[in-house]
Symmetry: C2
Subunit: 188 residues, 2 copies
């Protein structure tokens, strides 16, 4: 029996992310992760601090990947176009990785500096994009909150199957983002 099977924290977290995306974050269990890796449950504790620790790792991974996607979407764009791009990228990320994204939402440990820094990096991207609208410090924060709320709300409802009627969801989303952008221009 191979004593070392090449388990690493990266592999454990990666498999967990896959499972969370396909079966839902609330269905994530160490038992499934271990089974998928061909390993007994306690072995996971050598790489990850239990289920809570694993979920924290997922949150960190999710925030970082989201930041990455938003940054890429904003490259070479500015103003309205950049807002549309990051909104679309955010929505696409939630739909592609619903479990990983869900992990990023739950209120983090206030003492977790690493996770807080990662979250701030995400906000930073949006702040940068919205800075071009010259809304002032407070105005920019209000706008960041609004944009995030709107995209988060749309994407999570969509991922949860919350839009029953057979009407084009892309169109609904585009209209919502357009309306928000219009508001950015008319605000004091």
């Amino acid at each position: 029996m191979a004593r070392s099977v090449g388990l690493t924290r990266e592999r454990v977290v990666s498999v967990a992310a896959e499972l969370a995306d396909t079966h839902g974050l609330d269905q994530l269990a160490l038992a499934r992760v271990a089974a998928r890796l061909g390993v007994r449950i306690p072995s996971l504790y050598n790489h990850v601090d239990g289920l809570a620790g694993l979920r924290r790792e997922l949150a960190l991974l999710g925030v970082r990947r989201l930041t990455d996607q938003l940054s890429r979407a904003a490259i070479g764009r500015a103003g309205d176009e950049a807002v549309v791009a990051i909104a679309g990228a955010y929505r696409a990320f939630v739909l592609a990785h619903p479990g990983l994204y869900a992990a990023t939402i739950h209120a983090p440990d206030p003492d977790d500096a690493e996770l807080h820094a990662a979250s701030r990096a995400t906000i930073e991207v949006v702040v940068t994009v919205l800075a071009h609208f010259r809304l002032g410090d407070a105005g920019t924060i209000h706008a960041v909150r609004g944009l995030r709320a709107l995209v988060h709300g749309f994407a999570t409802l969509e991922a949860a199957g919350g839009f029953g009627l057979p009407l084009d969801r892309d169109e609904s989303f585009a209209r919502l983002v357009r309306a928000f952008i219009a508001g950015l221009h008319t605000n004091p």
Copy 2:
């Protein structure tokens, strides 16, 4: 030992709703419900179909209470004022009953006619309020989705502690809703 302790489905669901609101829906366990009611776990099965059934009951209760709150908020109001009112009522409901509200989100059983009817009733209130803007059939649905996404997103992020900075959240919300309403007037 009293053989009948006066347990009813209503009491079970009511206690569960309380626990879900205070400790989070994901922390809801039959063990806690039973303990709170001074009863053994299996006794709950006489009134509720296991944990899954209990969560379904919570979803139904949540949707109905939400519809009730939205309806009340819209009474005697129309146009912009009505939109502001139901948006505020929706947000207040999520903040006051985060667990109950969370239960209403998870994708329901497609065969659950009762739950679907209740959901449709909620949508109906919003449709009625937005009908005054004369957006057409499709336009109204897009607007309903947008409003719901925006309020859902803001309130759930807020409830999850997602807005770190010490800037007035009421103001952020008011601006977002105003921008949305402005969009309703300018859209084709």
